[in-house]
């Protein structure tokens, strides 16, 4: 038991490597910030493509649904490995895309961001879809009957109402995204888990991993409480709303 304790809770190891692990964790946060921004945008684009009306646009809807289903099914780890292993050899792409070093970040950073955006775009698209579909059909009809195009109706009427219904599930996706940034350690991005494992092999002690876990908990726990608050507020709105309907 005490062996377990010294292996995972050696405070000397934590203290001595605190700086390195923290720098690694900041790398996680940076990947998260970039990937979250792009995934939220890409997911909305996918959700809108999925909602395109009419028979003519069926192929676009079909391809979008296939994309969403596929990337929700494949493990992210595989996507990360395929991108970092494959993209450098796509000779038709320019050098700075095959091996990107944009904004002073190494190529594993961008391969990881790409993989997370591709996958989390699919997940957030489903959340947006739930929000869009929760807006009563009459809203779209009213907008169209006033002469707005499908896109105008989406832009000004449906999406603004839809997104107010989904902050809680969206935040859950973002929490999950933040944790999945650690997967990029497999392609040698010096983020917190990779740094911790280097400490592990150097000191033969796992406390750096515990420290990393603590960092994640500190960031994510408050977010989880925010999710609870949002859900409670949404429930209140629903009950209040139905009360107004009746009154």
């Amino acid at each position: 038991m005490s062996q377990f304790f010294t292996q995972y809770f050696n405070f000397d190891v934590m203290r001595e490597h605190f700086g390195e692990v923290l720098v690694g964790f900041l790398q996680n946060l940076l990947v998260f910030a970039v990937a979250a921004l792009l995934a939220l945008t890409w997911g909305l684009v996918l959700a809108l493509l999925r909602q395109l009306p009419g028979k003519k646009l069926m192929p676009i809807r079909f391809v979008t649904i296939a994309y969403i289903d596929f990337f929700r099914a494949v493990p992210i780890l595989i996507i990360i490995l395929m991108i970092s292993g494959g993209v450098p050899f796509l000779s038709f792409l320019p050098q700075e895309v095959r091996i990107p070093h944009w904004f002073g970040r190494p190529d594993p950073f961008w391969y990881g961001v790409a993989a997370l955006v591709i996958v989390y775009g699919a997940f957030t698209a489903e959340v947006y879809r739930a929000g869009i579909e929760a807006v009563p059909k009459g809203q779209m009809e009213a907008a169209r009957s006033l002469g707005m195009s499908h896109f105008q109706a989406m832009r000004h009427v449906v999406v603004p109402q839809g997104v107010t219904k989904i902050p809680a599930p969206m935040l859950n996706e973002l929490i999950s995204l933040l944790k999945d940034t650690t997967l990029i350690s497999v392609i040698a991005l010096s983020e917190s888990v990779l740094v911790s494992r280097e400490v592990l092999s150097e000191r033969l002690n796992s406390s750096s991993l515990t420290l990393t876990a603590i960092f994640f908990v500190i960031i994510i726990l408050p977010l989880a409480r925010v999710v609870d608050k949002l859900i409670a507020r949404q429930q209140l709105k629903i009950t209040r709303g139905s009360h107004i309907e009746v009154a």
Partner: protein
């Protein structure tokens, strides 16, 4: 015969195996007010949704001010085509469930499409919206969100919203059916004023009193066809058809 505003010929509409409209012909002259009565499921609402192409008919022709808007019907409500633009610039609709944009104030509900569709400036749209909302008696509610308005007020905002697009024909789809009894009158009064100003109107309603008073012509529908039509005095007081008598008996007994 006055100038034709709206002309429906042989309209047929089905939802899957269910034939909802089985060949409907109606001519509406400019300035005419038509009330359509009939039991639920008779196809009245579907007919209105056909006219503004929210649910385009499978068969038949619809002429709005002489132009056939069903020529080469596409897959319908989703597609943008000259027919859709043409119809929606000329035909306004008010729904049973109001369908006000719930994230917008009364004023914004009325300005949104003016700005985005007609390209009016903010100030222009605002002026028009204020004038219309005052006209329907809501000049003091401009900044209210739909959820704080009563059903009758919401429906009057919806009427103002449709009028802001300066339609030539207005369709009313059971606009008082979702209202509490004491709120029905304010909405009907607004519609009555509109009729007096000469608006061409196609009104699906269960308000027999309104039909008797305001309609130039009453149409009774059942099972997807027109059973009987004529001046309100004739159709409502001396119906010829057995189905009409039955229906009016049930409605007026209440």
């Amino acid at each position: 015969m006055a100038e034709s505003m709206l002309s429906l010929k042989g309209i047929q509409k089905r939802f899957g195996d269910l034939a909802v409209l089985k060949g409907v012909d109606i001519d509406i002259a400019k300035g005419e007010v038509i009330c359509i009565l009939g039991p639920s499921g008779s196809g009245k609402s579907t007919l209105l949704r056909c006219v503004n192409l929210l649910a385009p008919p499978e068969e038949g022709e619809i002429f709005v001010e002489g132009h056939d808007i069903c020529k080469g019907p596409g897959s319908g409500a989703g597609e943008q085509s000259w027919q859709l633009d043409y119809v929606r610039q000329r035909v306004g609709i008010v729904f049973q469930q109001f369908n006000l944009f719930s994230h917008k104030t009364a004023l914004e509900n009325v300005t949104l499409a003016q700005e985005k569709v007609l390209g009016r400036s903010k100030a222009e749209a605002r002026a028009k919206a204020t004038e219309l909302l005052e006209r329907v008696g809501l000049g003091d509610q401009l900044g209210q969100y739909p959820e704080t308005l009563s059903g009758g007020q919401q429906q009057r905002v919806a009427i103002a919203r449709a009028l802001a697009m300066e339609p030539h024909v207005m369709l009313f789809d059971e606009v008082t059916s979702a209202l509490d009894p004491e709120l029905v009158k304010e909405v009907l009064d607004t519609m009555r004023e509109l009729a007096e100003e000469g608006m061409t109107m196609m009104v699906v309603t269960h308000e027999i009193g309104f039909a008797r008073e305001v309609a130039d012509r009453v149409i009774f529908m059942d099972g997807g066809v027109i059973v009987e039509e004529g001046p309100p005095a004739e159709v409502l007081e001396n119906p010829k058809e057995e189905r009409t008598k039955q229906f009016l008996g049930l409605v007026l007994d209440r």
